[in-house]
């Protein structure tokens, strides 16, 4: 059973990739480059989550926990050791190591039992991680989080290229400074991680995972060691999420429960996976892009709509940006009911039918 | 008119087509045996009749009424009892509670109960014990006892002799003979000796299709047919 990806989906993904590549040259304000970096990181995060939910049929609520391990690893190292590449590397590795240990422990403990148990246990584990992060304030900065400096290369004052006068050079009107370097660090890291996942799902392992998802008993009968494969995927996804966390921590220069561990991030990931389409890497790209754009721009739109309708009853209330999550929840339920395959899956299925 | 009639029944489980074309008629009274190799689709046929899998529409009629699409509970209420392959015993409940569940309104018909005690003395002996503690043979007896505690029109029994000691198999055969005086039995069986001692009519299923149907006496007489369909003397 070959998965036919519709050309529209492929085109959309290519367009998104091109947009992200040239983003700093297309939009030059601070906010939009934040949006682009967030899209890059979330594409990786969502794709790695899709390895679990879409490709293997594992429902985990601990994905933000691994993201958080990576973030906090880099953050704590940069905070203690000062700006530089060594702390990024060490912190990132420490995050990966912790993620691996926890993933192996949780996996071996609970992937044997029912899927339901696994979902509940990961949820419990994630909430414990969140509580620990806010309580071990000596290490994590508690609720306030940690602010630190990124490696010098990424300072806005850094000149990548200088013109004849010794000022920072520009290309197509964009200043080639450290900010630009930081963005391309995020972009390239994300691209590498994403391509690695693409390679993984195209490999024989990807086929085995699908076999397990389709029919666990049969996969077991054929001789696949289901628990071993599941634990393996869970570990891979955890490591990638952790690396994405490190990248995001370097970009943000701040790590706190809200940016790295909160359950809201988990909900965002779930929404992105469902919107984009489970079981396809392309869906992750579409879902993450749409969701992040909506988070930044649709919310503003809701705010202005709410203000514009200020005189009317009820409407301003339900359109208030504070109700954002309410609408997301409703959209989410409707999507799961009516388009369980998400955008990528639905488009591809339609393309096949035509 | 036959009691139960299957016409071109097809059943798919997930993406697998398990039954392709099953047709046979079960006349009223006696034991009708459904034979065939492992995995031929015998159990699926019983489960499809019971509504536990969905067969193709219009393929199961019981006393002239179409059963397809009905809920399992409603099929049961029409007087069809089911003794599944795994016996379906509630292990956490007592023998008595298992039996109560099988009654229509929670009370026992004393004479029927006496009759069951006579058929299977173990039921009386372990009446207030947890059913999970019974031996395999006793569980099988309990499963059959549940099926006959109320008067039924038809009892579907799936491989009742599997894994039983010979003495219990004899007891079971005796009981089935007595039950079939009052109630029609549709029996799925691997044990050909057991089946031929009981059956009046029979059908053989092969790869989800009916390969032969007729009277048991004719089938027993035709050694070639037996060899071909059941490969008994392989």
């Amino acid at each position: 059973m070959k998965n036919q990806t519709s050309p529209i989906v492929k085109l959309a993904v290519l367009a998104i990739a091109a947009a992200l590549l040239f983003w700093p040259f297309l939009f030059q304000d601070v906010r939009s480059i934040q949006v682009a970096a967030r899209i890059c990181v979330f594409i990786v995060l969502v794709a790695s989550y899709d390895l679990l939910i879409g490709y293997t049929g594992i429902v985990s609520f601990a994905h933000t926990m691994f993201f958080g391990f990576g973030s906090y690893g880099a953050a704590i190292a940069l905070d203690r050791m000062g700006a530089g590449w060594t702390p990024v590397l060490l912190g990132g590795l420490a995050g990966v190591a912790v993620s691996l240990v926890v993933a192996v422990a949780v996996g071996l403990l609970s992937l044997r039992v029912k899927a339901i148990f696994f979902a509940m246990i990961t949820l419990a584990a994630a909430s414990v991680a969140l509580v620990l992060a806010s309580q071990l304030s000596g290490l994590t900065g508690g609720e306030d989080g940690i602010t630190y400096r990124a490696p010098d290369l990424f300072k806005p004052a850094t000149k990548l290229l200088v013109d004849e006068e010794g000022k920072v050079a520009s290309l197509f009107g964009v200043r080639l400074n450290g900010k630009l370097a930081a963005y391309y660090f995020v972009f390239v890291s994300s691209l590498v991680l994403f391509l690695a996942m693409l390679r993984l799902v195209a490999s024989p392992i990807g086929t085995v995972l699908k076999a397990i998802r389709e029919n666990e008993a049969r996969a077991e009968a054929i001789g696949y060691r289901v628990v071993a494969y599941r634990t393996f995927v869970f570990c891979i996804a955890a490591v990638i999420a952790s690396l994405a966390g490190t990248v995001y921590a370097v970009w943000l220069k701040y790590t706190g429960p809200e940016t790295a561990l909160s359950f809201d991030i988990m909900i965002d990931i779930l929404l992105m996976v469902v919107i984009g389409g489970m079981g396809t890497m392309w869906g992750a790209v579409i879902g993450a892009t749409l969701m992040v754009l909506a988070q930044y721009y649709l919310r503003d739109l809701m705010g202005s709509a709410s203000e514009a309708l200020a005189g009317l009853p009820v409407l301003p209330d339900i359109l208030s940006p504070d109700r954002w999550l309410l609408w997301l929840g409703i959209v989410f339920i409707l999507l799961v009911y009516f388009f369980p395959k998400g955008i990528a899956g639905t488009l591809s299925a339609r393309g096949k039918g035509a | 008119m036959s009691l139960l009639s299957l016409k071109n029944m097809k059943t798919s489980i997930g993406q697998y087509h398990v039954l392709h074309d099953v047709s046979f008629d079960v006349p009223e009274g006696g034991v009708f045996c459904l034979l065939g190799r492992n995995g031929a689709g015998k159990s699926t046929t019983l489960r499809s009749i019971m509504g536990l899998w969905s067969p193709s529409p219009g393929s199961v009629t019981f006393r002239g009424e179409d059963l397809t699409g009905l809920h399992t509970a409603d099929i049961s209420r029409r007087g069809i009892a089911f003794v599944p392959e795994d016996m379906g015993i509630f292990g956490g409940l007592t023998v008595e509670e298992n039996m109560i569940l099988a009654t229509a309104n929670g009370t026992f018909d004393r004479t029927r109960l006496k009759w069951i005690y006579g058929l299977f003395p173990a039921i009386e002996k372990f009446w207030d014990k947890p059913a999970g503690a019974l031996s395999g043979g006793q569980k099988q007896m309990l499963s059959v006892a549940r099926a006959i505690i109320e008067p039924r029109q038809l009892i579907l029994i799936d491989e009742p002799t599997k894994g039983l000691a010979p003495s219990i198999v004899d007891n079971m055969a005796e009981a089935f003979r007595e039950i079939s005086d009052k109630t029609t039995i549709l029996l799925v069986e691997q044990n050909f000796e057991f089946a031929r001692s009981l059956g009046r009519d029979m059908a053989v299923i092969e790869d989800g299709r009916v390969a032969h149907t007729g009277s048991m006496a004719d089938f027993v007489a035709d050694k070639d047919l037996q060899d071909r369909l059941l490969s008994l003397s392989a």
Binding site: L325, L326 | F90
Partner: protein, 330 residues
């Protein structure tokens, strides 16, 4: 070793665990009066959590449906009871015991009625279309939980909501040097009564027999002529009402509630049903008492480890018994 196991089994097997925990902590805490206060608090908390968790456990056992939105009923129950109590403020402070009790009954009654209605809505509208599809079930009930929490936030606001208590449940009584809060005692007793009621229904009625049999083997109950799906709606609604009652009692216990209440309790409820074993009411009670006791003891001995202690408890128990302490027979 076998002999020891046998003796333990005869004395009550896994039911001895809470007793063992209490005994160990008696030594660790040292002060008998503190220990007694903590134990009462733990039992009261355990009973309230039991109410919240019992429905979830039965619903899963009966239909293999896991409702991640279960804690929405807890939140709703808490906020509705708190609102009713707030609107009956005059009755609460009144010296008349009758008015006190009337206010309490009205609040708990409103919470349970709402639980029934919300349960019916959840079952028929949200969950029915995704029976037997665990993945979508988890996602959809999770989405429903988000929506309910946001609705609570929209209706009651994000600031903590203070909950009134009837005058007769205020204060504490003192036995020797042990102080016992009346509300805790009340919560424990009410929980015990509900448990006794549940136990009676499950073990002494035909309905209970059907539920227990259905948890074990749904198909066979259907083959015996019963519509489990119709029974299931009833169980689901009752479980939701119990969760709402648990939430209402919890609101009175905490006296200050926020919309996060549901999400916080969800984790605890999950830990309880996992520890206890899904599908069994006894197991859920056992798990709830264990978690209640552990939370209070650890909260006293090492406050920072309180939540982590539950997680640790769960891990240890899962390693020992992967299906929980007292799972329903499957």
């Amino acid at each position: 070793m076998d002999k020891l196991n046998e003796t333990i089994d005869r004395l009550g097997g896994v039911y001895l665990l809470p007793v063992a925990v209490a005994a160990v902590c008696f030594v660790l805490i040292g002060a008998p009066s503190s220990w007694a206060t903590l134990t009462v608090a733990g039992l009261a908390m355990g009973m309230m959590i039991f109410l919240m968790a019992s429905g979830l456990s039965l619903v899963f056992g009966l239909m293999d449906v896991l409702n991640f939105g279960h804690s929405a009923f807890v939140s709703l129950g808490a906020f509705i009871a708190a609102s009713v109590l707030a609107s009956l403020g005059g009755w609460l402070g009144s010296p008349s015991l009758m008015l006190n009790i009337a206010a309490l009954v009205a609040a708990f009654g409103a919470a349970m009625v709402f639980g029934l209605i919300a349960g019916w809505f959840f079952e028929t509208v949200i969950i029915k279309p995704v029976y037997s599809d665990h993945l979508r079930q988890i996602l959809i009930t999770m989405g429903a939980l988000i929506v309910v929490e946001e609705l609570i936030l929209a209706i009651w606001g994000g600031t903590p909501f203070s909950v009134g208590r009837p005058a007769f449940l205020e204060g504490a009584f003192v036995i020797g040097d042990v102080t016992i809060e009346i509300y805790r005692f009340f919560a424990f007793m009410l929980g015990l009564i509900v448990y006794a009621g549940l136990y009676w229904v499950l073990n002494r009625t035909r309905l209970g027999l059907l539920i227990r049999a259905g948890v074990e083997n749904r198909e066979m109950v259907e083959a015996l002529g019963f519509r489990i799906d119709r029974l299931f709606i009833g169980v689901f609604m009752a479980g939701s009402a119990l969760a709402a009652l648990g939430g209402a009692m919890w609101a009175g216990y905490e006296t200050l509630i926020t919309p996060h209440l549901g999400a916080d309790m969800m984790i605890v409820v999950f830990i309880v049903v996992i520890i206890g074993g899904l599908g069994s009411v006894q197991g859920t009670l056992l798990g709830a008492i264990m978690v209640g006791l552990m939370s209070n003891y650890v909260g006293f001995l090492a406050p920072k480890l309180s939540l982590a202690s539950n997680m640790l408890l769960m891990m240890v128990i899962l390693l020992w018994r992967p299906n929980g302490l007292k799972p329903a027979v499957k």
